[in-house]
Amino acid sequence: MVLLALACFAIGLAGPVVVRALAGVTGSLAGCAGVSCALPGAMWPLYGLTLLLGCTLLLGLFVAVTRRSLLAGRDVREADTWGCGYTAASARMQYTATSFAAPLTHFFGGILRVIRAGGPVRGLFPEPSQLATRVPDVFEKTLFGRPARWVVARMTVLRKFQHGRMNLYILYIALTLLALMLWKLT
């Protein structure tokens, strides 16, 4: 897995090298030799990109090193996350994926049909209640689910064709013969 990630990283940085290496393939596909004709305007942006990303990497390393050297001498302590004075923070209070995406799913609420289970606390002395929201996969339900169910429903109607009575099976053969004869010989 790490290897694959590093490979992506390498290709990102070494764009021009990869393009030249693949020149043979792209050349034969595009029907002309050499890199220039396969990707005419590609070389210059790739050089720029490699240079820029190289700079970013170097800057990142430089800043990390300075940061480490700055902190070397100082006292680095561990403490609880800032809870604005609330000390009993638990993992359940953390932002989950659904809550993270809530503003956007709320924004596109019309399409996404968020499912909410449970509700807000009610009454003066409310007993414990819970709220769970879930965003179903809209496309799977409408684009694939509904037609698939329709097709399967139609198909189960046709399943009676294999009803097990042998006489009718042989009648099928006779009828097919008759049908083909009528269709093709008249």
Binding site: L49, R77, W82, Y95
Partner: protein, 304 residues
């Protein structure tokens, strides 16, 4: 070698003067409020003080929390490499537009990751709002630059702003004005200025950008403050590059003119922050979609 020297001042100015921009904004707000306000160089003092301090890390955080500020500073400095300032940028190639936006996105992504890493519900909330607003601000930004690409036919920052001469202003004034407004709105949204987010509020529930960096301390916080000032500088230089037409005069003159443009942007932000109150959170998407609509109108103007 001379060609490199001729391009250097832009980035050097950026690295040096970036923290001053927020000082100017606070000075303008103070003048409006009738008080003396903090000195313009206040941010520099904060930075040096923070760099000298130790650090406190939450137990739940991992290497990701420490990598956040580093990556955002590195990404923003490399964006500055391709941003023209008065003259051509240090590095420019067709398509650096897209790389620039991606680098901004990387910086934002790592800041959000660092915020989520702490596991606090405040930072999670801030991160989720940040992501929502940037998701809505990006279309406006892209449409705005699409107008500029369509107008100039170039696909790189320095070529676009290089050809932003008085003549283009004369012919395309209405579209350019709209794009300037869009750039200003996106600047306000992306850099957590007043209408969208209040930079110096102390109530965690209302913050967006500040709450994400709640748990950072010492040098990390310094890096974050510096990164956000660089980000403000990037957006301000876009605004200045647009508003101040390039062309006549020596390179030094156009450099000074663009600096004036950045100053103008800072003053404008200060004025807006003084006369407007924060928008309700539900209003912000409408503001951003309005900006996107303006950009679309500008695009239609240019397209016909």
């Amino acid at each position: 070698m001379t060609m490199w020297l001729q391009k250097c001042p832009g980035i050097l100015l950026a690295l040096l003067l970036a923290p001053a921009v927020s000082g100017v904004i606070n000075k303008v707000k103070a003048l409006f409020a009738g008080r003396r306000g903090p000195p313009v160089l206040q941010l520099y003092f904060d930075l040096f003080k923070l760099l000298a301090k130790g650090a406190v890390y939450s137990r739940t955080t991992s290497w990701l929390f420490r990598a956040g500020p580093v990556v955002s500073v590195a990404a923003l400095i490399s964006v500055l490499l391709i941003i023209p300032f008065g003259g051509p940028s240090l590095l420019s190639f067709p398509g650096d537009l897209a790389v620039g936006f991606y680098l901004l996105a990387i910086a934002r992504f790592f800041t959000v990751l660092a915020a989520m890493d702490t596991g606090s519900s405040f930072e999670g909330m801030g991160a989720s709002r940040e992501v929502q607003f940037s998701a809505l601000a990006e279309p406006a930004l892209f449409l705005g630059f699409a107008v500029l690409i369509r107008m100039t036919g170039q696909f790189s920052f320095s070529e676009i702003f290089g050809s932003m001469t008085a003549s283009t202003w004369a012919t395309q004034a209405p579209a350019l004005i709209l794009v300037a407004v869009v750039l200003m709105v996106v600047l306000l949204a992306e850099n957590a200025r007043i209408p969208v987010d209040d930079p110096n509020t102390h109530l965690e529930l209302t913050m967006i950008h500040e709450v994400m960096v709640l748990d950072h301390g010492g040098p990390d916080f310094a890096l974050i403050l510096y990164a956000s000032s660089l980000k403000l500088w990037v957006f301000a230089s876009w605004f200045a590059g647009l508003v101040v037409p390039r062309g006549v005069g020596s390179p030094a003159a156009s450099l000074a003119a663009t600096l004036g443009g950045v100053l103008l942007a800072a003053v404008l932000v200060g004025v807006i922050e003084s006369i407007m109150a924060r928008l309700r959170l539900l209003r912000v998407p409408q503001l951003l979609l309005g900006a996107a609509a303006l950009a679309a109108v500008a695009l239609l103007l240019v397209m016909k």
